[in-house]
Every structure is written in structure tokens, then in C-alpha cells.
């Protein structure tokens, strides 16, 4: 039994122009203690799929799933009130922008104490002591003093540490990190990733890392989901995704990572075009329009997930026996 198991999740937003099908039937799982990376470009449904599981979507969102199970509980069956009990205690979330995710009027201490006081029946003083311990865990110097300060007195990296402290304050089983390093500068990014790596090992927390940076994934994760146009186009271990990628979109992602080690001055290879319109998603494979190996079949029928190994799946018509020779596999 996995910690999180999701079957055929669909999320739709009702807007004036129609229905935006942000997530179109994805299935995945998160094992205990592992970290799963979700990679894809903006609008591919990475964040929305995780927010769907947490029931944190805006009112105009509709959500369907055959099966969502977390820690043995069927999330399809529980209402928002029960979900609230799990948020912050069983599932912690770290947001992209630490500048705007903290309430500017409350001290750091108040904000770390808040989830502890909501979920655990302990005294204010005990919660405060716990907050100091947590600040120490996320390596914030002189936590007793820092507790009384306001968010504007913290640097970006320090605020992200505070966000992590809030997320882990109740020892969650699952930590969802939505692009935790995107808003930070490079030296701080490395520190934050290091910290999260340590925490994962120390606390045995599962992590879902949403990012569009394959470098982060390579450093942090055991397995990767590659999302495109609201679907999972490829799924596998780090090794499988980086060394035997099967989907042309994954090839494109890998080719677009800049390298400095080769010594040659190589041009970066971008993926041309832009992602599909999810109000009227394409009938076939969503990547057809931008795929240099696109075949006639790709426009007509969506490719099915093909299992390549116990952990590796991909959805692409190129793997059909009759398509052999159309494209040469790309390896890095």
C-alpha cells in the first residue's frame, strides 16, 4: 500500500470562455519515504493536480477521481472539514514565493505556532518551545529572537526556511513542495534543497517536488512524473528518465538543460511552439503540434500508457512496433 495513490484524477475550471481541463485523467502514486518529482512547463497541471488532492481549489473548480487514497484513507469520501484536519498535520505544503506566503502582520513565531495549535492540543508555551526547536531544525540562527520578528525582517532564503518550518511543524507524512526554489537565488536554492534533503532523511517524510527544473529533480528525487497538457506523458525513476527517456517531450526537456562542462560552445535547444489550449484540448496526443516526430496517428488517437518496466511508463505512439525507425532515441 502506497502513501498516496491517485487513479484517474480530472480537474476542470469553469470560466467564461468554457471549461479549462487543467488535469485530464492522471494516475500516480507516492511511496513512503520517497521523493517524487513532477516536472512540466507552466500550465501543464502540476500544481493543480496537487492542490486537487488537498481540496484547496477555488470555487469554480470541479474535481473527479476514480480513487484517491492517502495513508489508507479514501480522500474521495471525506468532506472539507475532515480534510482540514489532515492539512498541516499529515500533509504539509511549501509554496513557491516565500515573500507572499507569510502573513505580513503576524510574527514568525505566531505563524509557526498556528498549525501546532490547530492540530495538537498543547499549551501556548509548549507550542512556542516546539516552534523554537523547529526553527533550529531548519537552521535559523538565534531562533528565540527570530521568533518575535516579522516576515519583512527576513531574507528570501530565511523566509523559505520559515515556510518549511511551518510545513513540517506537525511531522507530516507527505510534504508537497510547489517550486520551492524558483523565487530564490542560486546559492540559496542549493541551501534550501540541501535542507529538504536532510529533512527527508531524518523525518522519513515523503516529498512531492513540483518544479520545472530538471536539475532540482536529479538532485532530490527518486522518481519523476513528466506532465504535459494535463496528462502524464512519462513516468520513471531518475535513471530511467535521464538515461532511457521515451517521450519526445522528455527528450526536449533534457536537451534544453544548459551544460557548461563540455567545453564546446553549444546552442541551447528549446522546444518550439507553445502548450495546447486546455479549453479545447487536442483529440490525440497533446504534444503533437510541437513534436518533431509527429505521425498521422498522433493527431487522431491519444497514445496509451505503455509499461516499460516496473517503474517506467510512457505514452507515445513512437513505441508502437509500426513506428520503429521514425525517431532515434535520445540519450543524455
Amino acid at each position: 500500500m502506497h502513501l498516496l495513490q491517485v487513479q484517474n484524477l480530472r480537474t476542470t475550471f469553469r470560466i467564461d470562455a468554457g471549461q479549462v481541463q487543467a488535469v485530464r485523467g492522471i494516475s500516480f502514486y507516492v511511496k513512503k519515504g520517497e521523493s517524487l518529482g513532477i516536472v512540466g512547463e507552466s500550465g501543464s497541471g502540476k500544481s493543480v493536480s496537487m492542490l486537487s488532492i488537498m481540496k484547496l481549489l477555488p470555487q469554480n473548480a470541479e474535481l473527479q477521481a476514480d480513487h484517491v487514497q492517502f495513508n489508507g484513507q479514501d480522500l474521495n469520501q471525506i468532506d472539507q472539514k475532515e480534510m482540514r484536519k489532515m492539512l498541516g498535520s499529515e500533509i504539509g505544503m511549501i509554496f513557491q514565493d516565500p515573500m507572499s506566503s507569510l502573513n505580513p502582520l503576524l510574527t514568525i513565531g505566531d505563524q509557526i505556532v498556528e498549525p501546532i495549535r490547530i492540530h495538537q492540543k498543547i499549551s501556548k508555551e509548549a507550542a512556542r518551545k516546539k516552534a523554537i526547536d523547529i526553527l533550529r531544525i531548519v537552521e535559523i540562527p538565534s531562533p528565540e529572537k527570530r521568533l518575535k520578528q516579522y516576515p519583512h525582517e527576513f531574507s528570501g532564503g530565511m523566509r523559505q526556511r520559515v515556510m518549511i518550518a511551518i510545513a513540517i511543524s506537525c511531522n507530516p507524512k507527505l510534504l508537497i513542495a510547489d517550486e520551492p526554489t524558483t523565487a530564490l537565488d542560486v546559492t540559496i536554492q542549493a541551501q534550501i534543497l540541501d535542507l529538504m534533503h536532510d529533512l527527508k532523511n531524518k523525518m522519513q517524510t515523503s516529498i512531492v517536488m513540483i518544479t520545472h527544473d530538471l536539475g532540482v529533480i536529479a538532485n532530490m528525487c527518486n522518481r519523476v512524473l513528466v506532465m504535459y497538457g494535463g496528462t502524464i506523458v512519462e513516468e520513471g525513476t531518475i535513471r530511467e528518465i535521464f538515461y532511457q527517456p521515451k517521450h519526445p517531450y522528455t527528450w526536449g526537456l533534457i536537451k534544453s538543460i544548459p551544460t557548461v562542462s563540455t567545453g564546446k560552445r553549444e546552442k541551447l535547444i528549446p522546444i518550439p511552439g507553445s502548450p495546447p489550449d486546455l479549453i479545447a484540448p487536442p483529440k490525440g496526443c497533446p504534444f503533437t503540434a510541437r513534436c518533431e516526430y509527429a505521425m498521422k496517428i498522433c493527431e487522431k488517437i491519444p497514445p496509451q500508457q505503455i509499461t516499460l518496466s516496473e517503474t517506467h511508463r510512457a505514452a507515445c505512439w513512437l513505441m508502437h512496433p509500426k513506428a520503429s525507425g521514425v525517431a532515434k532515441e535520445v540519450t543524455v
Partner: protein, 325 residues
């Protein structure tokens, strides 16, 4: 003798003399102990939003003057009548219509009542009405607007249409009806003023809450399992407190003025009780013979209006973080 270190032990940066450059003692080049390094030392004393706003408010001379005036008037209203030998209702036919003197600072009215004491009593009533009405409006407006804005959708739609209907009825019409129904007492004026004055506050709070509920920290609060009411009253309302306070501050003078207006029309506070509006109303017949009878209460109203409006302006500047230096 040159030394590279001065009295305090700091290194003197050598400029021209290479001799000094070589004089820096060897131990200064030892590796710095890792734990002794100062990393992220907290230097400044931490200031909350309110402390920050207060320090900005203090620098505004008009607003501070306004604050002082209001405090003085309030203290005078509370304690002044205690120290006066006259009461607001004692009539003294022998002292009718006296001009201001040492005996009667603001003179007396046609029944020989001391106008100074009556003005102080008027201040009691006017300030009570101003602050209590503003307080009631604050509470109703914040709760109504907060709920409407936060929950949105159908709830918002229904609550706001109700407000629109209330807003469409002319105030004066139902205030007069209500006063006739409830009688001319302080309480009924407060009820009448509380019925619709909160509409502006509610609309303002609603718009603030709608802006703030899409902020990332609201989502972050939801993600730690905060309930809706907790998010609304712990995160959203405090963050819109700046504009709320400014709106309410401007409500105080407007309530005082409404009461004065109603009393002036004769449907407010009734004699022998005195509000500033009643005093002005009483003085109309003698406007040309004893103008001071109207002058003093009118000045009291004006000064209070000015002071409260200056405070409001000062608060608006102090609470707007965009003006932060």
C-alpha cells in the same frame, strides 16, 4: 614606532607606509574560528506594523494637533462639569442672556443657564454619539463585509443586494420615522445612525477581503488546515485594518454632524439635555441680539470636525505602507 593596531585593537588600514603593512601581527592571519563568525545578527529592534504606523503618525503635526484637541475635549467633557458650580439644567431668571464674563465664560442663555457647562455636556453627548455609532458601525461593517467578501458567490450576491436596497432608502426619511417611533433619546439616535452607516464600511471591508483572499498567504493558511472563520478574522481582517480604521475615523465626525443636524431640526436630543446641535438650535432666535450663544457651540462643532478629519487624514497616511520611508 608604528603600530598596525590602534587603541581599540582595530587594524589601521595602511596607506603609504609599507612598514605598517608588514607590522600587522602574525596572529591576525590565523583562520577565523567558524563558530565565532557573525552570521545574520539581528541588529535592529523589531517593529510591528502598528508601532511603525504610530511612528509615522507622530511625525504628522496636523494629525497630532487633532489628537491633542480631541483628547482635551474628551477630558473636559468627562471632568469639566464636575468642577463647575453650575449644572446644565439649572435655570436662573436673574442671569438671563448674560454676555461672556469671568462668572459665565460663554455667557448664559435665555433661561440663565451657563452655556460653558451646557457646551461641555453637549460634548459628552456628541462625542458619545460619534464614537459609539462609529464603534457599532465598525463591528457590523467588518462582520457583514468580511463574510460577504470571503464566502463570495451566492452569499455575497444576496448580502450585497440587501445592502443596495438599504442604501436606496433616504436616510433622513426613516431616521425621522424611527425617532418619532422610539422617542427623542440618545439611544434612539444611536440606533437610527447605526442602521445604515455601516454600509460604507461593509462595502470597503468586502473589497479588501476579496483582494486579500487571493493572496498566497491565504492559500498557505488553508494549507495548514485553518478554518474559514479563522482565516477571515485572523488573517484577512487584520490585514485590511488600515483602511478600516481610516473609514471608521471619518465616521465619527459624520455621526456627530448628523446628530447635530437632527437636533438642529428639532428631532434630536431634547431640552433640557444639551447636544451641540440643540444649543445651536436654541440660539437661533437670539442670533442677532446674543450671537455668542450660537458662536461657542458652533466653534466646538467646527474644532471637533477639523480635529477628527485631521486625525483621519493622518491615519490614512500612516497606515498606507506605500508611503513608508
Amino acid at each position: 614606532m608604528h603600530s598596525a593596531l590602534n587603541k581599540n585593537g582595530d587594524i589601521v588600514v595602511p596607506r603609504e607606509s609599507s612598514l605598517v603593512w608588514h607590522d600587522i601581527p602574525d596572529e591576525e592571519f590565523e583562520k577565523l574560528d567558524q563558530s565565532a563568525k557573525q552570521s545574520e545578527v539581528v541588529l535592529r529592534k523589531s517593529k510591528s506594523y502598528w508601532q511603525d504606523a504610530w511612528s509615522r503618525f507622530r511625525k504628522d503635526p496636523l494629525a497630532m494637533a487633532g489628537l491633542v484637541v480631541i483628547v482635551v475635549i474628551t477630558l473636559a467633557a468627562i471632568f469639566g462639569p464636575i468642577f463647575s458650580s453650575y449644572s446644565y439644567e439649572d435655570q436662573n431668571i436673574a442671569n438671563q442672556n448674560q454676555s461672556p464674563s469671568l462668572e459665565h465664560w460663554f455667557g448664559t442663555d435665555k433661561f440663565g443657564r451657563d452655556i460653558f457647562v451646557r457646551t461641555l455636556y453637549g460634548a459628552r453627548i456628541s462625542l458619545t454619539i460619534g464614537f459609539v455609532a462609529a464603534g457599532i458601525n465598525l463591528v457590523i461593517g467588518v462582520i457583514y463585509g468580511g463574510i460577504s467578501g470571503y464566502f463570495g458567490g451566492k452569499i455575497d450576491m444576496i448580502m450585497m443586494r440587501f445592502v443596495d436596497i438599504l442604501y436606496g432608502v433616504p436616510d433622513l426619511l426613516y431616521i425621522i420615522l424611527l425617532m418619532m417611533f422610539l422617542g427623542n433619546t440618545l439611544e434612539s439616535i444611536l440606533i437610527a445612525l447605526s442602521l445604515t452607516y455601516w454600509i460604507g464600511t461593509a462595502r470597503m471591508v468586502r473589497s479588501q477581503v476579496i483582494t486579500l483572499k487571493f493572496q498566497e498567504y491565504t492559500l498557505a493558511a488553508k494549507a495548514i488546515g485553518s478554518s474559514n472563520l479563522r482565516i477571515l478574522f485572523k488573517h484577512l481582517i487584520p490585514n485590511s485594518m488600515g483602511p478600516i480604521i481610516v473609514t471608521v475615523t471619518f465616521l465619527v465626525p459624520s455621526a456627530i454632524f448628523s446628530e447635530a443636524f437632527l437636533s438642529f431640526l428639532g428631532i434630536g436630543i431634547q431640552v433640557p439635555m444639551a447636544s451641540w446641535g440643540t444649543l445651536v438650535n436654541d440660539a437661533i432666535p437670539s442670533l442677532f441680539t446674543q450671537p455668542y450663544q450660537m458662536l461657542f457651540p458652533a466653534i466646538a462643532i467646527s474644532i471637533t470636525m477639523f480635529a477628527l478629519n485631521f486625525i483621519g487624514d493622518g491615519l490614512r497616511d500612516a497606515l498606507d505602507p506605500r508611503l513608508k520611508k
